[in-house]
């Protein structure tokens, strides 16, 4: 890992403030091709704001964000849409369109951006839904009829609709049962290997960190406190990091990950 390729996403000196409340100050972060980057931090440290800033939903107060080498804030709407097609976003609560059924949800970007016929797009959408682990009959159900876990999976299918290069996931395993969460981690790794995805993963799930993430960035005090491989991050001298990785849950997740690797 000594020779790093140029990063896909480069955040420099990011500053975000809401009124007098400073969320980020002097935040630097990179996402490299093909890696799964886990972003962790206590509640209110601005993990979601960071994600929203990178995908262009929130205009930062100051600083620079380059996505694929381009500054989203300075692009024209057309160029921006072209860049935005190259990433998929899974929102915390799914954010499926409630007036469309699942296959229509996933087919929408395929019809709008690729210009597929409706039948083709829905056929492809059903494959993506199956890939995300949903049963065939779910394709014609509406989001209101589904459980939280199924909504997460459908939202992942929609995020993957355009075969993006970068996937942004905001707490993807929150609200999933442990079996579903483990399957989700595995699915993420398979897709990453198969499609060469890079993943920006905001999570609280320690198991996901141990099984799926190549690098971990810890957000605290408005900046990235430390970023690197999990083993080195976990041993950083900091009270919060220590409590996080070496608390009862952290130890359990580490133990589980080690057993999984040995077997």
């Amino acid at each position: 890992m000594s020779e790093m390729p140029p990063p896909l996403i480069r955040v420099r000196d990011l500053e975000n403030r809401f009124g007098r409340h400073v969320v980020h100050q002097g935040l630097d972060l990179e996402l490299y091709p093909g890696e799964v980057l886990g972003v962790v931090g206590g509640s209110g440290t601005g993990k979601s704001v960071l994600l929203r800033s990178i995908v262009g939903l929130h205009r930062p107060s100051a600083g620079r964000i380059e996505v694929f080498g381009e500054d989203l804030q300075r692009l024209s709407p057309r160029e921006r849409s072209r860049v935005e097609r190259r990433f998929g976003v899974l929102f915390q609560r799914g954010a499926l369109f409630t007036s469309l059924n699942l296959q229509e949800n996933v087919a929408l970007p395929l019809i709008e951006h690729i210009g597929l016929s409706r039948a083709d797009a829905e056929g492809l959408a059903r494959v993506k839904l199956a890939l995300a682990g949903l049963p065939a009959k779910a394709a014609i159900q509406y989001p209101a009829e589904l459980s939280g876990g199924m909504i997460k999976r459908a939202a992942l299918a929609r995020a993957l609709a355009l075969d993006p290069e970068v996937l942004f996931l905001d707490e993807p395993t929150a609200g999933l049962d442990p079996i579903g969460a483990a399957a989700f981690d595995q699915l993420l790794l398979t897709l990453r290997d198969a499609l060469g995805l890079s993943v920006f993963l905001v999570t609280h799930d320690l198991d996901t960190l141990y099984t799926a993430c190549d690098r971990v960035a810890v957000l605290a005090q408005g900046r990235v406190l430390v970023a690197g491989r999990l083993e080195s991050v976990a041993t950083t001298e900091d009270a919060w990091i220590h409590d996080y990785f070496h608390g009862p849950r952290g130890r359990a997740a580490e133990g589980a990950a080690r057993t999984a690797k040995e077997s």
Binding site: T98, S117, D120, L124, A130, A136, P143, L160, L191, L195
Partner: protein
Amino acid sequence: MTEPGHIDQQDDHLAISGDWILPHYATLKRRVEGLAKIREPSPLGIDLSQIADLDTAGATLLMELVGSEQLAAIDDWAPALPAPRRALLRTLGEAMVGHSPPALRPARPVRDFLAETGQRVDGLWQQQRQLLGFIGLTLATLAATLWHPRRWRPTAVVAQVHQTGLNALPIVALLTFLVGAVVAFLGATVLRDFGATIYTVNLVAFAFLREFGVLLAAILLAGRTASAFTAQLGAMKANEELDAIRTLGLDPMELLVLPRVLALMLTLPILTFVGMLSGILGGALVCLVALDISAVQFVAILERDIAVQHFLVGIGKAPLFAFVVAVIGCLEGFKVSGSAQSVGEHTTSSVVQSIFMVILLDAVAALFCMEMGW
């Protein structure tokens, strides 16, 4: 831009090459379909090693070519492929084994039409039943809280009066002023032929005291406030806030519905009064400008000809209309289900229903007052 992938067929051997990616989906699909007609899917003799670029869309098409079971077993028949690519094809195959597209019900136009008609009629009936039930519930809650002053919520009521009444005053005043002027113009035009333009005063006063003041204010309130109630309560319902209120041992009827209903019942009479004044003012202005009836004369005619009962008939209808508008707005809000579409549907329904009910009640009231000689 890359070139779409190719399928080369030689006897029983398929050589697949090029880019199998989403931007070429339509072209690739045609090629696969052209082939599938001639050939039974079988993995034997398929060479995938020349594929340059592959994503899930391309993999889906390959699956159509060889079938999901064969794709799931790709490790057996194409072990030479790079591991990540095999993983993609295998994952996709495994995910799709046993999946068949969900069967859509065939369309039956006549039956569907009848079913739809029946559903609508039944829906209309259920709607009225629910409305009556909700009115009962509101009255019962009101009666239950009436004797317990500690359960009154004056702050909530005042806040609602502020939002629904004070903020609506300018638009109500402007609208009734304009309609008052229009009615006076109409009267002046029609009555001129009889040489009775002086009766324009009576026309404007009668119209606004008995009907237009309360009707216009109520219709504005239905459009402005019933929709707001539905959207507010609907969003709360979708966000499970109503359930939270219930589990905290509180009653949404008492907490949310009663203050709104009471506020509107206070608000609409005030708005009606303002509407009456402003409509008559509009009429007076037209009388002054177009008919040379001075303000003093206008007021004198009002005093002489218009009995106070007309005012009472008009303002007496206001609390009734307000009650109906508020109850319909709240009930439709409670009916919202999770989706954004449902919020829209119920907001529309609440405005349509409340305007309809206001006009219907007004017609019934007019008939009643006429028979009673009021």
